[in-house]
Symmetry: C2
DNA sequence: CTTAACCTTATCGTTAACGTAAAGGTTGGT
DNA sequence: ACCAACCTTTACGTTAACGATAAGGTTAAG
């Protein structure tokens, strides 16, 4: 059992962030003492890490709230699972779309790099030390 | 030449958004009348669309500002191009990281779907109409 | 039992990316 | 010349995701 500051540090966030996530229903302390102290078990780390990852790729905390439980809740009531399935499929599609957009952006960037490198090496051959693109 | 409302509509944003983008240096009207009216050419649409795409995959307008010109400015001064190249490479890496995170999230979601579907079909064989997962 | 280092709730502040009026000028068709 | 439908700048409001105090209680080591 970790206190909020300890697990926050390990997760690379602040206690404030964890309380905020709790307020949004993203996480719950494994135990709360009679004095109000929050205590967490180590597996909460995995959840926080996943939240950070999903955030980093552009999901809002609200969207994350909808799916975060799905990763870590294999012991849910069965009827809930079917709903879950539908949502998983939907979310999977959204992720696929984002991946495709990123890949498109990526290849276009790569194209720009290539074009620019060619122009630079053509016009700067005299002062060129290295023999062109190494990507 | 389109007025701001026309091009905004075509791009699926509001005039306010375009003025805000202009303020951040993301776009510039092709022409501004003496009375202050902004006029845009059609190719501005491509820029706005790209901004929206990049936003949708999680880039901030500030990050977008750094790269948006790179897509559409092949007539820049040469010395600027070298800086550009460095930034392009950096940004390309970031995009790669995000793609990998999304793909990881995706495969984990897919795993959850599979597990859940198996459990459902095992426990619900009696009432099952369709023959299992079709992904 | 003292004390530093933690924790609590409560509240106000901040940045990003616009939305939403307010008050007025412009355009373009009749 | 008129008016609806646009445009302008200015400025305050809003949501998201926390940060930063403030004022006070708790823990655990010595």
């Amino acid at each position: 059992m970790y206190k909020i500051g300890e697990i926050a540090k390990q997760a690379g966030v602040t206690p404030r962030t964890l309380r905020y996530y709790e307020q949004l229903g993203l996480i719950t302390p494994s135990e709360v003492s009679t004095t109000g102290y929050r205590y967490y078990e180590e597996d909460t780390l995995a959840i926080i890490t996943r939240i950070r990852n999903l955030k980093h790729v552009g999901l809002t905390l609200d969207e994350i709230k909808d799916v975060i439980g799905l990763y870590f809740t294999l012991k849910k009531p069965l009827e809930a699972k079917e709903k879950t399935l539908v949502y998983l499929d939907k979310h999977l599609n959204e992720i696929n779309v984002k991946i495709k957009m990123l890949q498109k952006a990526k290849s276009e960037l790569q194209e720009q790099i290539n074009v620019t490198q060619q122009r630079l090496s053509q016009l700067g051959v005299k002062g060129q030390k290295n023999g062109g693109p190494k990507n």
